[in-house]
């Protein structure tokens, strides 16, 4: 790998580790110091490596530089009178040496994850903060990922950091008695981060995939440390594995969504499916079935493309269970689709009409599906309604092609 490729690669893998250790070292009040030291470290690499050549062990080189920069920073600010940052170095026994051992890196990342996903911070800020401080995403990348602009993201991050400071959030492991509760928040944030990538309408395939893999990587930290006691971590991981297996198959090169039934199974990642199965098994060790268990089981059945009675009976049952836990329009619609596969379109049509989701384009698409064999005109009317209220360009195009197909038939 040449310098041009190596540095961004190392930035991805190493900056998050150094940054977590520094944040842990200085505390939540001084996140900017950590950010500065990390950027300085990589800047040094950018300045030196092209001329002096890539060091034998680039990672060790970066760690050594980060350590030195930290020492210098502490020495400099300690001498600098009237500096606001002075107090922490005077009052506390803060060490000038940072610990970049594997153990401390992993602990610091976990503790940061808990801090960033603190219940006092809004969910969207948690996600943005996690991407910035734990995944090494730049402001521009986060803005792209959220289909937003830099200014909004900057404001959001600023507010989130202020909140962390004002609430005096410590970068530490939560108390034993609060672990389950705090983990729930972290899991939900990672679940949303993953969905942000998986369901996003973002045209940028790379960004989308990165959001998914970042969510998985952060979840792996929890997997190693807590999954034995809290099996739903396995369940969430299994869910992500099953969904990720289709990441390459569900969009074409233009970013157009390829419907499940039109996907080429050869493009599904078998190794991820197998990994998901292992974790789903591990998840069943507990006694309770969380929402993640149900969703992972559903995702498991979606890795079987063939329409079998067994498959749809299971899927229907799982959607019933999911709805018992928590109502959502998308679960209601999917449940009704599964119902049609088990009991036929006529039964499903009656149930679908009761859902009354008149602001949801998928609702009308589903009604069209159940009507298209017996009453083509009504089906077309439903599709037109769906197109009218859809806000996504890709979806509108998809509905148009369905209407065209029906007109031809």
């Amino acid at each position: 790998m040449n310098t041009e490729k190596l540095i961004p690669h190392l930035f991805r893998t190493e900056s998050r580790k150094i940054s977590a250790v520094l944040n842990k070292h200085f505390g939540i009040d001084y996140m900017e110091i950590a950010e500065d030291i990390v950027s300085d470290t990589f800047l040094s690499a950018l300045e030196t490596w092209p001329y002096k050549g890539i060091p034998d062990n680039p990672k060790a080189w970066l760690y050594a530089v980060a350590k030195n920069k930290t020492k210098n920073h502490i020495a400099r600010t300690s001498n600098f009178e009237n500096n606001i940052t002075l107090e922490i170095f005077q009052n506390s026994e803060i060490s000038t040496e940072i610990d970049l051992s594997e153990r401390n890196i992993s602990d610091s990342q976990l503790q940061m994850l808990f801090a960033v996903c603190h219940p006092s911070i809004s969910r969207e800020s948690q996600i943005a903060l996690a991407l910035k401080t734990l995944c090494g995403f730049g402001i521009h990348e986060i803005a792209t990922a959220f289909l937003s602009n830099k200014e909004t993201i900057n404001k959001r991050l600023f507010r989130a950091k202020e909140k962390l400071k004002s609430e005096k959030i410590k970068i530490e492991f939560p108390e034993e008695s609060k672990i389950t509760e705090r983990l729930d928040t972290v899991l939900l944030t990672l679940y949303l981060l993953f969905n942000e990538g998986y369901y996003s309408e973002n045209q940028d395939n790379i960004i989308r995939k990165e959001l998914c893999s970042e969510a998985m990587m952060l979840l792996e930290l929890l997997l190693e440390n807590y999954a034995d006691k809290i099996p739903k971590i396995h369940a969430l991981y299994a869910l992500m594995c099953f969904h990720s297996s289709r990441l390459n198959a569900r969009k074409d090169e233009n970013g157009q969504l390829i419907l499940y039934q039109n996907q080429d199974e050869n493009n599904w990642d078998r190794s991820l499916i197998d990994k998901g199965i292992v974790h789903l098994h591990l998840a069943t060790k507990g006694e309770t079935a969380s929402k993640y268990h149900i969703e992972a089981s559903l995702a498991y059945w979606m890795t079987h493309k063939q329409d079998t009675k067994e498959k749809w009976e299971h899927v229907l049952k799982l959607y019933n269970l999911l709805l018992f836990q928590e109502y959502s329009p998308i679960a209601a619609l999917n449940r009704t689709f599964a119902l049609s596969k088990v009991y036929g379109n006529e039964v499903a049509k009656v149930e679908a009409e009761k859902l009354k989701l008149e602001t949801n384009p998928f609702y009308f698409s589903l009604l069209a599906e159940f009507n298209k064999e017996k009453n083509k005109e009504i089906a077309i009317e439903y599709l037109k309604k769906a197109k009218e209220i859809s806000t996504s360009k890709a979806q509108k195009e998809l509905i148009s092609s369905k209407i065209a197909d029906l007109l031809k038939a």
Partner: protein, 117 residues
């Protein structure tokens, strides 16, 4: 929107069902409740009430095994739904597989919340 309890009453209940019957009944019950939940109207899936170890405690502390044989109808379980009107709650009740048994009934009762203050 009010809360309604749907109380299932079984006629001549014995508690004797084959595992196959039980499984089929479970699936039908789940699909029935799933339909209500898909409308966002299911508050509690409730519970079945076991026919085993049932007792009736009467006036003066008289305890009998029962309620089988003592009364004609036995409460088999309940669910709680949300509905705009009693008519809507009745529509939900009509879908229950319990009604496949002749003589079985569903009682629809609006929840009157206690106001202990």
């Amino acid at each position: 929107m009010d809360e309604y309890v749907l109380i299932m009453r079984h006629e001549n209940a014995t508690g004797q069902v084959s595992p196959e019957q039980m499984q089929a009944w479970m699936q039908q019950t789940m699909d029935w409740l799933g339909g209500i939940a898909a409308q966002g109207k299911l508050l509690e899936t409730g519970n079945g009430l076991s026919f085993d170890d049932a007792r009736v405690v009467g006036h003066g502390g008289v305890v009998t095994n029962g309620p089988f044989g003592e009364i004609k109808e036995t409460i088999g379980g309940y669910v709680i739904v949300k509905a705009e009107s009693v008519e809507e709650a009745v529509e939900f009740a009509k879908g229950s597989p319990v009604l496949q048994g002749p003589g079985n009934t569903l009682e629809v009762r609006k929840v009157a919340k206690h106001d202990f203050k």
